[in-house]
Symmetry: C2
Subunit: 518 residues, 2 copies
């Protein structure tokens, strides 16, 4: 058995049975090994960022890592932006990066690169297989790192000679599924004391705190003790929709975020980080919590958020049976169905037509906030968001989510500018027959950057600014782009047409891209 | 004047008047500065790899750096693969990477990344502007590094507060154009002695040795002293076509390359590196020169190759007027015009119809060698190749070459798999109205990887290998992809149709993509 075979078996032993791949020459022995193992599902991505984004989406939904297979330093480089997002999402992921045979590196052949140096800034763990003999041990370590609770980005550099050389394999070796740590008793006590005091408290939820059960626990605490609850700005996975109690999210813009936190004396973090401004602006703060506020950590991301919230609720003497006030539905403006579309109409129609248990991938950028507000009153769904600010993950995240959950619908809410970064994901959606419906909000500009330029007081953009912020001249034709990659494309200009298109798209198998011209 | 304004002026003072950009929020003050300077041409790229690939193509043709403008670590990450290629091409390039305001980095906001750590593995120089006050000095240093002969990849991290802060500017500061060093007298003597001896000598040419004049000097030495001449495998820029004497290139495959060098006792490097195998294979060598061969360096890449070859020719007593034997045209099989296309027919028709002084960007991968052979008998042209093995540069290289030389035709010879990595370049071709004709050799597979798998003796590929190496199911529809990004697309199945399509494409303004189904 060669090293490639041993790596395959070690992955399968650890329930890593999906590999998002864009291989090259140095991975050919490993490709040959993968070809022998029919339990492994190899999903080709035409660009490496699709592979890493898909592995992120897959793990957010399954809780288990997928593998990626990328080719040397440049192949990894193309996947780095989504590793950055995955690390910020605390996603478990195992990246296998093929390299030259070890002895060849000193010759500095054209593709030679310092792969570890490229990986480190966006990874939690980086290792290299020293030789074919150590493949199983090295792979076990890389998997163990990926599965560190709540999840880590793990990179294993795998030289060609480690794949082709004779290796050893011992059956029955596997890494135990990670268990979150128990929350600290002192942390629970401190939170309870703060809530019992006359200080105004906020529960700031992130990570695993954003699932149905912990959200209900937070809601009971809020209901009985007048505590505020917010979710972080961008979340790896948040369960929401009717029947689930859903908090607001911290706003992207610093002014709005500061306003949201202004009333609180104590910020209690539950799987969340202390909130900071997404960007620094002249004369505006770095941190969005009031400077005099106390920040308490109830549970770390690696700890059990549900247990932490349950313990706080119990210590406060709140019954698990506490009735929650019904969520107040938004007063939704009726959509003028035959009128030209605008962004709000798209948001309302998307929410109103959402199938039960859809996985919603949100890369709507300037329209994420209204989408989020309306989706809370849609059918129950999971919402996957941009966690690291590295634009371009949307269509790839949808690939991974759809492969993770073949029985569920995926809806990809996509801004047009962000959608253009890794459009090749549409091909993988088509090839794998994935039930992904994409709504492109086509405003033909980088709207969020326009907003930023206006905030600077720059005035009317001139030729250079328009050139850099507009996506028109020519407009992206998403119907043709979809078709080019093998997906069906539709273009709609009215609410009526969008509604019909969505109903039709959900009814058919395979990916559909709907360009909503606003 | 703020730091952004000073950076713009410093670029313009140094003839850096083209900026391939994909900006984000942290670059907005700099965007505002660029907007004030009408002499700066800002070219939007929808993906950062397009920006870095275009800057490479631009500098290969002008000899001067372009700027790129990218957004924080993830934006740089998306551009790294083509920085790798540019460094291997020894291309002068100045990359400006926007970052958070310096004081905000400690807060680890979502986009925070160690930009310098990401840049270093693929850059010759990496620096950071410490504050607005030092912008001019820092930019001068970054430009000076980019212009180090023959060319370097320079990365300047530019924090948002350095752009918005008050700065100082002194007019009339500029970096002198780089001059190649004189070749060493001893190196010239050693080469002359080797050629005069009874040893079999090879001139291996790279970099600036591949222009018309040095090629003629090499040809005269070859003609009169029976010396062999070869070019490196992948070259940044090579002048060839009828009227220019053109050597063969070293083959990509290790067996063929070893055969090409087997007969030589002395390898004389002229702006080239000692040749090594592109990949290491079990039982095959690292180096492709015979182990007992002597390797002499006549000129380093930073030295004047033309002067080196001229000095050798003069010392050998060869007249500058020496008549060269006419190049023997290939015995070209007539193209069966109405017959279905095959790769060789595409190659022959592309060479036969090539307009005078075309810039040819070669990312044909498995078909680069036949293209190269036939193009030598086409009209005079410049050939730009993949230098670092990081697949996906073709359409972006074409953007830069076309912007550098608006009066010349660009022909992009593109493999379909490689073409899919950064297809967004077609949009920039369309928006800027660039005269780029792309021939997609559509074989619907990663042919070079298929060849590698067969060489391993793997036998008939199974499901997983087919999944990872085939691009069918669905086939990429390049006509729709082109149209989606605003370019015209055509599909041809016969030689006759290809010929007609090429003639039509060259006659019209703006980009055309021709999918040649083989």
């Amino acid at each position: 058995m060669n090293g490639g075979d041993v790596l395959c078996r070690t992955l399968l032993d650890n329930q890593i049975d999906t590999c998002f791949a864009n291989p090259g020459t140095s991975e050919m022995h490993f490709v040959a090994s993968l070809d022998k193992m029919s339990d492994m599902r190899c999903v080709l991505c035409l660009f490496e960022g699709v592979a890493t984004g898909a592995a992120d989406g897959y793990a957010r939904m399954t809780g288990r890592p997928a593998a990626t297979l990328l080719h040397t330093g440049p192949g990894l480089a193309n996947g780095l932006a989504n590793l950055h997002n995955a690390r910020r999402a605390r996603t478990p992921m195992l990246n296998i990066i093929g390299d030259h045979a070890d002895s060849h590196i000193a010759y500095d052949a054209p593709l030679t690169t310092d792969i570890e140096a490229l990986a480190r800034p966006v990874s939690d763990w980086v290792g290299r297989t020293a030789s074919a003999v150590s493949v199983q041990a090295d792979a076990m370590q890389a998997i163990q790192q990926a599965r560190q609770a709540p999840g880590q980005v793990s990179v294993l550099v795998f030289p060609a000679d480690a794949a082709w050389g004779d290796s050893q394999y011992q059956a029955g070796q596997f890494v135990a599924a990670p268990q979150p740590d128990d929350p600290a008793t002192e942390a629970i006590q401190a939170a309870v004391e703060a809530i019992r005091s006359d200080q105004r408290c906020l529960l700031l939820l992130g990570g695993a705190a954003l699932r149905h059960q912990p959200l209900l626990e937070a809601a009971r605490i809020a209901e009985s003790h007048g505590v505020g609850v917010l979710a972080e700005q961008g979340n790896a996975r948040m369960q929401q929709g009717m029947g689930t109690w859903a908090p607001d999210r911290i706003e992207y813009g610093v002014d709005g975020a500061v306003r949201q936190l202004a009333e609180y004396d104590v910020i209690i973090l539950v799987g969340a980080r202390a909130p900071v401004a997404f960007f620094k602006y002249p004369g505006k703060p770095h941190q969005i919590a009031p400077p005099e506020a106390t920040i308490l950590t109830l549970s770390q991301p690696s700890e059990n958020a549900l247990e932490a919230l349950r313990a706080v609720r119990t210590d406060l003497g709140i019954a698990a049976s506490l009735e929650l006030a019904p969520m107040q539905a938004l007063a939704v403006t009726p959509v003028a169905e035959a009128a030209p579309l605008n962004a709000m109409a798209v948001v309302q129609i998307a929410a109103a037509t959402l199938p039960d248990h859809t996985i919603v991938c949100d890369e709507a950028i300037s329209h994420s906030t209204p989408y989020g507000k309306h989706l809370r009153f849609a059918k129950p769904h999971d919402l996957l968001q941009l966690t690291g600010g590295a634009i371009g993950i949307g269509p790839s995240l949808a690939v991974g989510a759809a492969i993770a959950c073949p029985d569920r619908q995926v809806l990809s809410l996509q801004a047009d500018g962000a959608g253009a970064y890794a459009v090749q994901a549409l091909w993988t959606q088509a090839r794998e027959g994935l039930n992904v419906v994409t709504i492109i909000l086509a405003n033909q500009r980088y709207q969020s950057l326009y907003d930023e330029l206006i905030h600077l007081g720059h005035g009317e953009p001139g030729r250079n600014a328009r050139n850099m912020l507009n996506l028109d001249g020519p407009a992206l034709d998403w119907v043709s782009i979809a078709q080019g990659f093998g997906a069906r494309g539709m273009r709609v200009h009215t609410g009526e047409a969008l509604q019909k298109a969505l109903v039709a798209a959900y009814a058919e198998a395979g990916p559909v891209v709907i360009e909503a011209v606003i």
